[in-house]
């Protein structure tokens, strides 16, 4: 792409003339702004970017991006993107989906996209609620949640989206939040750079139907003690004074106090490429309301390299073609024919 000397794009070039229709204060605004901010820096011509979404508030996204885009049907963006990427591998394909769209109705397609490892970027806007349909619980809502469809509290056990992605053998797994623009931008850039399916969960506040769902992780006062920002090669340290850390006790992560005997050299050092430790990391999913809970990690949990579906598909075709291209007349004729005079 670097050979192309087009005038440098700006975030404005990625905005459309369509009025943005999210509720004022919705976390989706920040995500849109950060995506528009990083796009010019990716060096991809605008016309080679395609954003495909399902249905939900979040899935309105493509209308606000001046690229190619498709607002499709509920849960199927991943499947549509698979067909597009299979046939047009050179395009940069981004998928926008919600916790309902991508994990409930489209859960099947999500896991299959991940295992196949198409080189696409999945942005899962997780607001732990069905926003568009006005406030039913979602597959990521916590147990006992009272919503319109669960007046006595939800009895569903929620998904842990990153553990699900890990189980589906995703090759890139990360989490970020709407309220931390810099972290969000960094996570988007990393998702884009990863060759293979990137699964990025974005905590997004729905201030109308589930306001404050992630407050404890996003608000100044509680964020430092409840979040853990992962950095490759760095020990797992958190807390307002950076004085708490995570140590592995066997397979079990435990919190240690760096002011109270523990030293950074005891701590778990994050390695994005460590498949086994990533399984533990994605399972750090304690309910933040419970006393003594582990902090919630953010950042890139895991990244690995695996051949992409569309590349292998193309290679197979090239291999066969190298032995001889198809000839239509030969095909139609077949092996055995007879002639009638």
């Amino acid at each position: 792409m670097s050979e192309i000397t087009a005038p440098a794009l700006t975030p404005k070039d990625f905005a459309t003339d369509q009025e943005v229709r999210w509720c004022p204060g919705c976390g989706d605004y920040s995500i849109l702004a950060q995506v528009q901010k990083i796009m010019p820096g990716l060096g991809i011509p605008k016309e080679n970017i395609v954003i495909i979404s399902g249905i939900g508030c979040s899935s309105r996204f493509p209308y606000y991006m001046n690229t190619y885009g498709m607002h499709s049907i509920h849960g199927r963006a991943t499947a549509i993107a698979s067909g597009l990427k299979a046939t047009r591998p050179e395009l940069s394909v981004w998928i926008v989906t919600g916790d309902g769209d991508g994990l409930s109705i489209g859960g099947n397609h999500t896991i299959h996209l991940l295992r196949r490892n198409f080189d696409v970027n999945v942005m899962l806007f997780n607001n732990q609620i069905y926003g568009l349909t006005k406030g039913q619980y979602s597959p990521t809502s916590e147990e006992n949640k009272v919503t319109k469809s669960t007046p006595y509290g939800s009895i569903d056990h929620p998904f842990n989206p990153l553990a699900l992605a890990m189980g589906a053998d995703a090759t890139f797994i990360a989490r970020t939040m709407d309220r931390d623009p810099k972290h969000l931008q960094e996570a988007l850039i990393r998702s884009h750079r990863h060759k293979g399916a990137s699964f990025l969960e974005i905590y997004q506040n729905c201030n109308i139907f589930n306001d404050g769902a992630f407050e404890i992780f996003t608000e100044k006062a509680s964020k430092p003690d409840n979040t853990l920002f992962l950095e490759h090669g760095k020990p797992l340290v958190f807390g307002a004074n950076k004085d708490k850390g995570i140590k592995l006790d066997g397979f079990k992560p435990v919190i240690v106090d760096l002011n109270d005997g523990a030293s950074t050299s005891d701590l778990w050092v994050h390695d994005e490429r460590d498949f086994y430790k990533a399984q533990i990391l994605v399972r750090m999913f304690d309910d933040p309301r419970v006393e003594g809970h582990l902090p919630r990690p953010f950042g890139v949990f895991y990244e690995t390299d695996r051949a992409c579906y569309e590349d292998v598909m193309q290679l197979q075709i090239e291999d066969v073609m190298a032995k001889g291209k198809g000839n239509l007349d030969k095909l139609l004729r077949g092996k055995e024919t007879w002639t009638i005079a």
């Binding site: 459309t16 369509q18 011509p45 605008k46 016309e47 080679n48 970017i49 395609v50 495909i52 249905i55 493509p62 209308y63 991006m65 001046n66 690229t67 190619y68 885009g69 498709m70 607002h71 499709s72 049907i73 199927r76 499947a79 549509i80 993107a81 698979s82 067909g83 597009l84 990427k85 299979a86 046939t87 047009r88 050179e90 395009l91 099947n108 397609h109 299959h112 598909m313 197979q316 075709i317 066969v320 073609m321 032995k323 001889g324 291209k325 198809g326 239509l328 007349d329 095909l331 139609l332 004729r333 077949g334 055995e336 024919t337 007879w338 002639t339 009638i340 005079a341």
Partner: protein, 618 residues
């Protein structure tokens, strides 16, 4: 030994045995051998519902019916002349379809106490021994024993040797019908070339069967069927699903669009997925999706990117694809959805044929959601019908449904295959830049056909968004405006209706322009209707036959044709579906003939129905 040779005109053989007996292979080999002689033919494979129902039982019987003739044939025949019964169950379930006086070639080993019991014959009853078959000519042979004997020098287990039993039978039939076996020997070499013992055993069994006929004095007559008088040209044998795959490849080659198939396996459509997966040399991309929804969704994604997007399925899968078809209608992108129908509802009769998805194809989606429908009437017709479906899809920017069914999908017939140069061109226009004076791309601005441009990602200046929400006319922006919605619903309908201007007018397959009865058909009833109507015409009746390829929209002159007859009969393998649409659109009091038994309508049944109707009007 002096032997007679008798020339026959028309023969129907049914090969029947346990599903493990290789009857489909035997039938196909005999079919190919017949075809290579220029004899006309039609086939009807009849699979058991379960892959391996308990051996020897009635549900485990697999059949393959072949009719061949020195005349043109259009159906696999209502009754058989020869029944090959590899076991008691095969005899029991097929005897009713055998002509009185017909031949039964029975493998006596398949009629031992155990097999008789499994076939539910009462204790001590053996139909081969009790005289109950005196109206037939029974040829008994212990195929198992003779096969083992022929293979005694091969060091293989008995079980493996017994697998060649079907070749013994095939060899015997080759003798009986005076055939050269070279094509089957070549087939066996191709198939088992690397497994010398298996190859050897099959070839030896085949030859032993042939020699058995040749040397056994009881067989005094050999039969011969002459070449049929068919249009001159070069022919091959083709099956319906194979023809669909070839039609799609041909359309891809002629249009220059790379072919992408998104599909989920389902009987009887899977063979299209299998066939297309073999042809990577044409750049074909096949994607076995996680379900039918992903199958069509991936094809939509591919079509959006500028490929020829196709999805293949059967009834249950069609039901799952409904919402995505609606998306394709809204997006107005080309897509071909192939529905190879089977018995329904629900899982229904997976291996049996039915034409019961027509109303689903017509109406089975939410909202006002019109889609063109093209249907195939014979195995080879699948090629040109699916080719037409592609042409309509890409030239009218619409998803198109192609309908076939289990009967034509698995049936075979001779095909005077086309040369690629003779195939009609499929011209595709992508939008490659903004038009003169066009400031901003308007994705839903239409041409005289009401067709919008196909603008694929990668073109600078044409960036745009499309989706399933209602669109504003021309701009394609989301619109909830009431008048606009009404306008768009009407435009989408008119766009599909207008396709009638770009398809051929309906012609009569046979018969006078006006008359007593028009038999109107669609799909796999073609052969039965054609044959029945021919019979009545020979009897001097003014009966005609029209067969629809374009089911939506109908050809423009269909209404006129319908009004030229006193009565209209619509035979269908369903509970009356086309008839509802015809009555609705043309106000004609059409009569139905509906058979819903998972098997094709026969000529005889239709002749009777027509005679009954003629009696009434006379």
């Amino acid at each position: 030994m002096i032997r007679k040779e008798q020339v026959l005109q028309d023969v129907v053989i049914k090969f029947a045995g346990d599903s493990g007996d290789g009857m489909q292979l035997t039938g196909t080999q005999f079919t190919n051998n017949t075809a290579l002689l220029g004899i006309d033919l039609a086939t009807f494979p009849d699979f058991p519902a379960e892959i391996r129902a308990p051996q020897g039982t009635l549900p485990g019987v697999s059949g393959y019916q072949l009719r061949f003739s020195s005349d043109r044939v259009f159906t696999p025949g209502d009754e058989c002349d020869v029944l090959v019964a590899m076991n008691a169950a095969a005899l029991k379930s097929n005897l009713k379809a055998l002509k009185k006086g017909g031949k039964i070639i029975a493998n006596t080993d398949g009629f031992d106490a155990k097999n008789l019991r499994l076939a539910n014959y009462p204790d001590g009853v053996n139909p081969l021994e009790d005289g109950s078959l005196e109206n037939y000519e029974v040829i008994k042979m212990d195929v198992t024993k003779m096969t083992r004997e022929a293979l005694k020098d091969i060091t293989m287990g008995t079980k493996e040797k017994d697998r060649a039993k079907n070749m013994f039978v095939l060899g015997f039939l080759y003798w009986m019908y005076n055939r050269d076996m070279e094509n089957t020997i070549q087939f066996l070499k191709d198939k088992f070339g690397k497994k010398a013992e298996i190859l050897d055993s099959n070839v030896k069994a085949l030859q032993a069967g042939y020699n058995f006929g040749d040397t056994t004095e009881t067989f005094t007559t050999r039969y011969k069927v002459d070449k049929a008088r068919m249009e001159s040209g070069e022919y091959r044998s083709i099956m319906g699903n194979q023809a669909v795959a070839y039609g799609l490849i041909a359309a891809s080659q002629k249009s220059g669009l790379p072919l992408f198939l998104g599909s989920y396996p389902i009987t009887p459509a899977s063979d299209i997925l299998h066939e297309l997966s073999r042809h990577k040399g044409f750049g074909v991309k096949t994607f076995q999706a996680e379900d039918e929804i992903a199958g069509i969704a991936s094809a939509i994604g591919a079509a959006y990117g500028g490929a020829l997007g196709v999805t293949t399925t059967s009834g249950p899968g069609m039901a799952l694809k409904g919402e995505a078809m609606g998306l394709a209608v809204m997006l107005e992108i080309p897509l071909v959805i192939c529905d190879i129908q089977r018995g329904g509802p629900s899982t229904g009769l997976p291996t049996k044929t039915e034409q019961s998805d027509l109303l689903q194809a017509y109406y089975g989606r939410n909202g006002e959601c019109p889609m063109p429908i093209v249907s195939a009437s014979t195995p080879s017709d699948c090629f040109s019908a699916v080719y037409e479906a592609v042409r309509i899809a890409v030239q009218h920017m619409t998803p198109v449904i192609f309908l076939s069914d289990g009967y034509i999908a698995n049936g075979a017939e001779p095909w005077r295959f086309p040369k690629s140069d003779d195939l009609p061109p499929i011209v595709v226009k992508f939008k490659t830049e903004l038009g003169h004076g066009e400031e901003k791309f308007q994705p839903y601005l239409r041409d005289e056909k009401l067709v919008r441009p196909w603008a694929i990602p990668g073109i600078p200046g044409l960036e745009h968004r499309i989706g399933g929400l209602e669109k504003q006319n021309n701009t394609g922006n989301v619109s909830y405006d009431p008048e606009n919605h009404q306008l768009m619903v009407k435009i989408r309908q008119e766009k599909v209706d207008k396709i009638a201007d770009y398809i051929p007018e309906q012609t009569l397959d046979s018969g006078p322009e006006t008359g007593k009865i028009l038999v109107l058909g669609w799909g796999s009833t073609y052969g039965a209707i054609k044959s029945a109507v021919a019979e009545l015409q020979q009897q001097g009746y003014a009966v005609s036959h029209a067969h629809l390829r374009y089911v939506r929209p109908f050809p423009k002159n269909l209404g006129t044709i319908l009004k030229n007859f006193d009565q209209v009969l619509i035979p269908e393998i369903n509970n009356g579906q086309l008839i509802k649409i015809i009555r609705d659109q043309y106000f004609v009091d059409a009569k139905g003939y509906n058979k819903i038994m998972g098997v094709p309508i026969t000529k005889t049944e239709l002749v009777m129905k027509l005679q009954e109707m003629l009696g009434r009007v006379n």
